[in-house]
């Protein structure tokens, strides 16, 4: 297995783990409060839709778009998306933004679901189906986006999809066993790592797309990743210092359902 294949699988696995943890919280809340069968069917339907999206768009991009264009456009999107994840992870690690609390999200979902009409005595509960499907689809869309962009840029849609599938199976399996939100997963640490990877690889591929002939070839990726790690850690330190000197209003994590 080449190092690029390995990194593609790891990046996709880490990004997908975070999003699946968030999706599982919603499905658990629906299943516990209303009806497991409809919630699981809704989640499964959303997963099938996501797999189709990845298969159709990923294959189309790889087959029909020239690789330089793919690397420029998709690399650009990876930088944008990676910076969004990384800067939020830095702000959260530095204490300027509240970390996502899966237990609190779970309680909020349960409380919202209790206001809905009662579960029908037989057949499908469409509220359970819709809430679970929507939750998995919205969280999973980020996974699909990362799998398609990362897989297309590296020409490795299969390994990227494999990383996401393993993450999904692992998170769903653990959630099924423990039957409660996976609050112990270090979501911010994972987002920090994924943000660095997306930004680093995005810079490399988009750079190739505009015509940069990177010195040392693929080894330049390592230098980019190391550079972004150092700057992100410096960012956490500076945010913490700023807060301890001046204080800052903490932004609620719940305002950002998609990130």
């Amino acid at each position: 297995m080449s190092s690029i294949t390995f990194v593609t699988i790891v990046s996709s696995f880490l990004a997908s783990s975070v999003e699946f943890v968030e999706a599982v919280t919603i499905v658990l809340a629906v299943g516990v409060t209303r009806q497991w069968r409809s919630a699981l069917i809704g989640a499964f339907a959303a997963l099938v839709a996501l797999a189709l999206l990845v298969g159709i768009f990923g294959t189309a991009i790889i087959l029909f778009v020239p690789i330089d264009v793919v690397r420029l456009v998709v690399g650009g999107f990876l930088i944008i998306y990676g910076l969004q994840w990384l800067t939020r992870a830095v702000l959260r690690a530095g204490g300027a933004m509240a970390k996502r609390d899966e237990a609190a999200v779970y309680e909020r979902e349960i409380s919202a679901l209790q206001d809905e009409p009662p579960v029908p005595s037989s057949g499908m509960d469409w509220i359970s189906f819709t809430v679970a499907a929507k939750g998995v689809l919205l969280e999973g869309l980020e996974v699909a986006f990362i799998v398609v962009t990362f897989g297309a840029s590296a020409g490795m849609l299969g390994p990227a999809a494999l990383g996401a599938a393993v993450a999904g199976a692992l998170v769903l399996g653990i959630a099924f066993l423990v039957h409660r939100p996976l609050s112990a997963v270090p979501e911010n640490g994972l987002k920090f790592a994924v943000g660095v990877m997306l930004t680093g690889f995005g810079t490399f591929w988009a750079g190739e797309g505009v015509g940069i002939d990177w010195p040392a070839g693929d080894a330049a990726i390592l230098a980019l990743l190391a550079g972004y790690v150092v700057l992100a850690i410096l960012g956490v330190y500076l945010v913490r210092t700023h807060i301890s000197n001046w204080g800052v209003r903490v932004v609620e994590a719940s305002r950002e359902p998609l990130r």
Binding site: I79, T203, Y228, I243
Partner: protein
């Protein structure tokens, strides 16, 4: 029409959200890198400049978020 607006709104929120500098900054950085390649600037200099520009966009966004 409202479906189109919702669809576009969703993607705007997905990619731009409340921090448009993180969307526009990398595009400007890549455009400058493209210009530098066309001007014949050496690859190591362009690569390093692209890294610095992308890092600066992230740094500025964090600074704005903290000061907001």
């Amino acid at each position: 029409m409202s479906y189109v607006r919702s669809f576009l709104g969703f993607w705007y929120d997905f990619l731009v959200g409340d921090r448009p500098e993180l969307f526009a900054g990398p595009i400007v950085a890549l455009f400058l890198a493209w210009l530098a390649v066309r001007a014949g600037v050496q690859a190591p200099i362009i690569g390093a400049t692209l890294f610095i520009l992308v890092s600066s966009v992230g740094g500025l966004s964090i600074a704005w978020a903290v000061r907001r």
